[in-house]
């Protein structure tokens, strides 16, 4: 008996309905996602336009040059000379200490901010009533190694400060107003979130390309990305960094100065006891004073004139009548 292998009407309609639904679904997906123009050129994403102003305007422009063998006593004397830490840090302030932890190098080689200074400064901030102190930097060498070997991580922990490592999520793109170089560039803004005070704490170091690494160059550590392309115009980037940041204070520790082989150093022979620590509100003036420790003048360092021309401070630090104390 021949088998009746014809499709029944019911089956045919069912099958046709399912096929139609498939076609319809495919068509709907294709239509709703169809992009006739292709991808647009990359646009600059959302970005920050300015850092908060961390300066204490009521305090005015103050500066103190403290001299002595001991960096911690220099720091205490230097802060006293600008009116005491209480003039800058009040109860409830949230302080960020931007240290220079650039290299995985022990404190005795002075390639990084000395941990004793970090500890004492953090301690004084807490004593003045700060609710939090954050210690941060985006170093050149491996960050964890840098904070460990430089002793800064341990100093921060001991003082009860929080160490913030430069994790990727903490960077946000930023364009500094009127800047030529810092445009749409990742900056470590996450570490500054919620902060009310920012203090730069830097050593004094020889730097072959720029002439010197001091307080203004210290802000380089707030940049992310392949920031070393800025070395092609190092004097301008340092001035732009100074324009980006309006700090509460800068502390420039020249108790020991790296005279040669900077900014990495690597040998005690590169160092000189210069017995000076400068504290001030005017980062241009502080760097101009620091230049003398390297046997240079402000005129030898073009970034100082550039920063001055941007109205960020004065290269003639003597005009501020800095207090000079011995500790």
């Amino acid at each position: 008996m021949p088998v009746d292998d014809r499709l029944s009407r019911r089956e045919f309609i069912g099958r046709a309905a399912k096929a139609g639904a498939c076609l319809l679904a495919a068509g709907a997906v294709a239509y709703s996602t169809h992009d006739p123009d292709g991808p647009a050129p990359a646009a600059a994403g959302p970005q920050a336009s300015a850092l908060p102003d961390f300066a204490v305007n009521a305090a005015g422009r103050r500066m103190c040059i403290a001299r002595g063998e001991d960096r911690v006593r220099n720091l205490r004397a230097g802060l006293q000379g600008v009116g005491g830490i209480e003039a800058f840090v009040r109860r409830g302030d949230r302080v960020v200490l931007k240290v220079n932890a650039a290299f995985a190098s022990p404190p005795m080689l002075s390639a990084t901010t000395h941990p004793d200074v970090v500890y004492e400064l953090a301690r004084l901030c807490f004593a003045a009533g700060a609710t939090s102190v954050v210690v941060t930097d985006n170093p050149i060498n491996d960050p964890a190694s840098c904070f460990a070997l430089s002793g800064i991580g341990e100093a921060a922990r001991r003082a009860g400060a929080e160490l913030v490592l430069p994790e990727e999520r903490l960077f946000r793109n930023m364009t500094v107003k009127d800047a030529r170089l810092i445009r749409n560039w990742p900056v470590l803004l996450g570490a500054l979130a919620g902060a009310t005070r920012l203090i730069g704490v830097a050593p004094v170091k020889d730097h072959h390309r720029s002439g010197a690494s001091m307080g203004m160059k210290n802000w380089y550590g707030l940049l992310g990305g392949r920031r070393n392309i800025f070395h092609q115009d190092i004097q301008t980037i340092i001035a732009e960094l100074a324009a980006m940041v309006r700090p509460t204070l800068v502390v420039l520790d020249g108790t020991t100065t790296m005279m040669t082989n900077g900014p990495t150093g690597g040998s005690l022979a590169d160092l000189k006891e210069t017995r000076t620590l400068v504290v001030g509100t005017d980062q241009v003036a502080v760097d101009a004073c620091g230049a003398t420790l390297l046997g240079k003048t402000a005129a030898d360092l073009p970034f100082i004139a550039k920063a001055e021309a941007l109205g960020l401070g004065t290269a003639d630090y003597r005009s501020l009548a800095p207090a000079e104390v011995s500790a």
Binding site: N141, P143, E167, R209, N228, H231, I234, P302, F303
Partner: protein, 580 residues
């Protein structure tokens, strides 16, 4: 608790221990970081790593002595290590169980039948050991790490699974998620080995594992063993349903294949199977039926392996200069006689600069450590000695900081060099592009710096002629507006005056430049303004360069770096010496 549950607890414990050791191999002093955790312990327990390096070097290094514990365990109790300890074995067992848990009993018994091909793993072992044994004569090599299950699983977790977990955000072991060049191949081998369990359970353990073969040989005289009691058996074959080793418990049992999973003990409802000193009532085979022909063929393969691989002269005159080994690595032939490719150095490296090699070191060098300065948070930090301290076989010798840096009693020998940096003058910005840079010089970590600079003043490319009109104060005024405003004010540009004085430009407008010091007389009207750029061109001093690669890592020419380290002048190979 049944004995099967005890076995499962033990397996889970050792898998977690492996993961924990991989996590804890992070440089640091937090509780979960490397601060005394015995992170090499599972590798040390591997008697195959011990035996193979013993054959290859005639010594048993440090912690590898732990392998004796496994040997003792196996000689007395059989392959307990495979069934209870080996984390790779546990993973195989788990995947095999996942794939077969719904299968009918008959198919499971079929999957677990003894196969003569199980002898293949003994041939693998013979080939690897034969290759290692010739190393002291200079014509052998240690390849065991390719298939030895403990290095294999350790590197797979450290270099594939942990980085994937970091990338997913589930774990944060280092500030930046880790990269491992060549991790894909490691993952492929690991995944294939696991996937094969869906075809035959414990495929790797039964057919491939050279450690299993070694333990099979050692366990042949075990005092206690699994076997039939000779009473109560109804032939239900339940004991074979879950037999991990495929050792044929119902028949003439294959003692060397039993991995002591003890499933048969629990599964037999009739008391027909026991773990005891008396031999099985159905008889025992101590070893699979090894064929003399197969054995000789595999041993011969091992014997000619290294000489054949070295026909390419990769350890001789054709050495690859791009193969930078970690500081403390032995000379290449000695290194290859020890490295078990476990990945511990790559895991612990704080800067993520050590990577598993592909074929840069030839087939022999697969998954051995190689430095890649384009990846990682920095070059190889010269204040770090972590990799050599961790290496379980001393393929990377444990250096002291003093030896690495050439201090104290090592002052005469100088620091350990892993290579030398070379400036590519065709790509370097100050050399080739008239653009200031010297990031490499800045970051060179040794003192005195191994990179110094030569100062040159080069005329800048003029787009339009600029002619001096007059000098007034600090300013030179030009005839017409021919300059791009601001272009020369960076501090790097200078004006060369006809009288030979060179003045730094501090600012410029379209029709003027200002200089420091002021131009004064000597700037005749009508003369062409000669603008020069001051360049500091980097030069490497090979007497100070240690090859750390920080310069290469930092070089802003990101693709092919303008300064690159090659293995020239590395301390470990006297015949790679470059300098007089």
């Amino acid at each position: 608790m049944t004995i099967r549950t005890a076995r499962r607890v033990s397996q889970i414990f050792f898998v977690l221990l492996l993961v924990w050791f991989c996590v804890a191999a992070t440089l640091g002093d937090r509780f979960w970081q490397l601060r005394g955790w015995p992170v090499n312990w599972l590798l040390d327990l591997d008697p195959l790593a011990g035996l193979a390096t013993l054959l290859a070097t005639r010594t048993l290094y440090a912690g590898l002595l732990w392998g004796l514990a496994t040997v003792a365990l196996t000689v007395v109790l059989g392959r307990v290590f495979c069934g209870w300890v080996c984390p790779f074995g546990a993973l195989h067992q788990f995947v095999g169980w996942l794939g077969r848990r719904r299968l009918r009993s008959k198919l499971r018994v079929e999957a677990n039948r003894y196969r003569p091909a199980q002898r293949f793993k003994y041939y693998v072992l013979a080939a690897f050991l034969a290759a290692a044994a010739l190393a002291p004569l200079g014509s052998g090599t240690l390849l065991i790490g390719l298939l030895d299950p403990l290095p294999l699983v350790q590197r797979s977790v450290s270099l594939v699974l942990l980085p994937l977990a970091e990338r997913s955000g589930a774990l944060a072991l280092s500030p930046l998620p880790r990269f491992y060049d060549g991790a894909g191949l490691i993952a492929a081998v690991f995944a294939t080995a696991l996937a094969l369990n869906l075809w035959v359970p414990r495929f790797y353990c039964r057919f491939v594992c050279p450690l299993g073969a070694l333990l099979g040989l050692l366990g042949r005289y075990a005092l206690w063993r699994i076997g039939r009691t000779g009473e109560g058996c109804t032939g239900c074959l339940k004991c074979e349903r879950n037999c991990e080793g495929a050792c044929r418990p119902t028949g003439r049992i294959q003692i060397s294949e039993c991995v002591m999973c003890v499933n048969c003990l629990d599964d037999c409802a009739h008391g027909a199977i026991a773990y005891r000193t008396r031999p099985s009532s159905e008889g025992e085979s101590l070893l699979p039926d090894l064929r003399r022909r197969g054995f000789l063929l595999s041993a011969a393969t091992g014997l000619v392996a290294a000489p054949t691989l070295r026909l390419g002269a990769a350890t001789g005159p054709n050495w690859n200069p791009d193969l930078i080994r970690p500081p403390g690595a032995l000379a290449e032939e000695d290194f290859l006689a020890r490295c078990i490719k476990c990945g511990q150095c790559m895991r612990v490296c704080p800067t993520n600069v050590i990577h598993p090699a592909g074929f840069e070191g030839g087939l022999e060098g697969l998954w051995t450590p190689r430095l890649n300065f384009r990846i990682g948070t920095s070059g190889c930090q010269h204040t770090c000695i972590a990799c050599g301290q961790l290496c379980p076989t001393a393929a990377i010798r444990p250096l002291s900081l003093a030896e690495r840096r050439g201090l104290q009693s090592f002052a005469g020998r100088g620091p350990v060099r892993i290579g030398t940096a070379f400036v590519d003058r065709g790509r370097c910005l100050p050399w080739a592009m008239d653009t200031p840079c010297i990031v490499c010089q800045e970051n060179c970590p040794v003192s005195p710096k191994a990179i110094f600079t030569r100062e040159v003043f080069t005329p800048v490319r003029a787009t339009a002629p600029a002619t001096v009109a007059r000098a007034e104060g600090s300013r030179i005024v030009l005839q017409g507006d021919t300059l791009v405003a601001g272009r020369f004010g960076t501090g790097d540009y200078h004006v060369l005056l006809p009288d030979g004085r060179r003045l730094r430009i501090t600012a410029n407008g379209p029709g003027w430049v200002e200089t420091e010091p002021a131009p004064g007389p000597g700037t005749p009207a009508g003369s062409a303004l000669a603008v020069q750029i001051r360049l500091q061109q980097p030069v490497v001093d090979p007497r100070h360069c240690i090859g750390c690669g920080v310069c290469e890592h930092e070089c802003p020419v990101l693709g092919r770096r303008a300064i690159r380290v090659t293995a020239e002048n590395e301390s470990r190979e006297p015949h790679h010496r470059m300098m007089l």
